[in-house]
Assembly symmetry: C2
Homo-oligomer: 322 residues x 2
């Protein structure tokens, strides 16, 4: 009911009377009054004027599916948007809904994760701290090996969207970390279920540090936020619409095939290029200079003895970056 | 308690007295007598002689974890064996146990699946009809693309085991169907969950037509069983131990790397080689002559205009074979 009231308030120029609201919603005027008060408690600024009614002045900076949807120009991602105040993990929520048959494009967003997950089973700090956490569902008819391209495309799209929305110099650390300067801004965790020759579904989970004013001590040297970099806060719903639009455009394109322009643009944004990198792989450590990215998104490194290796997995450390 | 009684009966030469059984198990003699009767109802032939006690003469042909385990010489597969009379799908059962943290090598076997699954979301006929259905859990530290090798290795191992156990001329239809003559004997469904650069777990599900005397009309021209080919029944528990032993040996080897000998042997058993095949792939149909298998297990086909294509997924039809 609160969502319906918000939707009416958003679509009304000026004030709307309590009587009209109660007629449209089929509830009593005192019920309208109760819901308006509850919205105010949620952080919505609502002007109430005797004989004129109610007017929405400002929405709080919390995930709001109707605001996010209103900003979307997507074909696939965000077919359904579910906004939550808190969740164990947006990937887990999408996984549960996927098991119930959720449609491709389903997107779950939350201001907080109580059990956020990072790569290599690490936990990912995601308290209610100004960050935004979201996951979306894809069901591409592709072989399992193509998951690497989807992950790469996701990182590339988020980097482009952040550059566009904030003007900040966000960059990619291969394969899919987004950094500003030497610090991490965004993490991506892609999970899939597949049969031997076909993906069943892919869940892409993304966490972006937006309005975080500080970080826990143990990661404060390695993490940054849009707020810390720009010195101002950003509207998380508007940012998310922008990111989802870019993800939709880039991933739809990547699912067909990677263009040379995309790869070149990706490389130009990728701080890993030209750097000495260390790769840990099944317990062993390989070191070399990152010299290119293949059309499939793999990293090519040149080792000391001038051998070129194609790296498609494992953890990559770039000297000097978090 | 029935499992413990069976275990004692199997490890006793000749008869064991009811008194000794009741002492060893810590139950009354009348409880022993009740369990023995229940075992007889399950199909076990147990000789009871006054003053001598009980002796196991013959076990029924139903999956029995202690018999299967006794026949194992494996490092990994069958670390735990769970035998069931019936289950929805052995893959689903392993999936549930994997979610609860089951150890690598867990194997679930059933005489019947009420909701067996085939590739491309087809159902797989698996009533209580003489077939054997089993799934095992792997947690390899490999990138998701390697699932294709695991599936290939599984088919190859089952083919080798059936040849060894029965002497029948079982062959492989690429990638992993086992056939005799023109008819299908065994199906394999591999399912995985993974992150972008690492497999979380793989479940390999295998159904073998063993003592099936007939098939439903709609598949009778396409399916065969060991019984129909050899004219006699086989002990399913002993066959399964043999198959698990071979799977363990081959998959452990494949997880390290495919040897040239393995690939050559695989090719010699693969009926697809040299045949005209049709591949359906994302709605399109490609036709050509199957001319080789790569070290990664992909099929190479030569099309009419002499182009060589590497095929790693999609459904393959071989002319003249079911």
């Amino acid at each position: 009911m609160k969502t319906r009231i918000l939707s009416i308030l958003r679509n009304t120029d000026g004030h709307i009377s309590g009587e009209k609201l109660s007629d449209e919603l089929g509830i009593t005027r005192s019920a309208v009054w109760k819901h308006i008060n509850s919205l105010k408690e949620d952080g919505y600024e609502i002007d109430s004027v005797r004989n004129k009614g109610y007017r929405l002045i400002k929405s709080p900076d919390i995930p709001d599916s109707s605001i996010i949807k209103a900003g979307l120009e997507t074909e696939l991602i965000g077919s359904t948007v579910i906004a939550m105040k808190t969740v164990d993990s947006t990937n887990e929520e999408v996984k549960r809904l996927a098991a119930e048959g959720a449609r491709e494009g389903l997107t779950v967003v939350s201001a907080e994760q109580t059990a956020g997950k990072g790569r290599f089973s690490r936990s990912w700090s995601s308290g209610n701290d100004g960050g935004i956490y979201f996951s979306f569902l894809l069901r591409p008819e592709l072989p399992p090996a193509d998951i690497a391209s989807i992950t790469l495309a996701a990182g590339y799209a988020v980097c482009l969207a952040i550059r566009e929305f904030t003007g900040l110099d966000a960059r990619i650390k291969w394969p899919n970390d987004i950094i500003i300067g030497r610090r991490k801004l965004c993490g991506i965790l892609t999970e899939m279920t597949a049969q031997s020759d076909r993906i069943d579904h892919v869940i892409v989970g993304i966490g972006i540090n937006v309005n975080n004013h500080s970080f826990p001590e143990e990661i404060s040297g390695k993490a940054t936020s849009l707020y810390l970099e720009a010195g101002k806060e950003f509207d998380r719903n508007a940012l998310l619409s922008c990111v989802l639009n870019m993800l939709d455009k880039v991933i739809t394109r990547f699912l067909i095939s990677l263009s040379i322009d995309d790869i070149e643009h990706f490389k130009s944004l990728c701080v890993t290029m030209g750097k000495t990198v260390k790769i840990s792989r099944a317990g062993k450590e390989i070191s070399g200079e990152a010299c290119s990215i293949t059309a499939a998104g793999e990293l090519i490194i040149r080792t000391e003895d001038n051998t070129e290796l194609v790296i498609n997995s494992g953890e990559v450390t770039v000297q000097g970056i978090y």
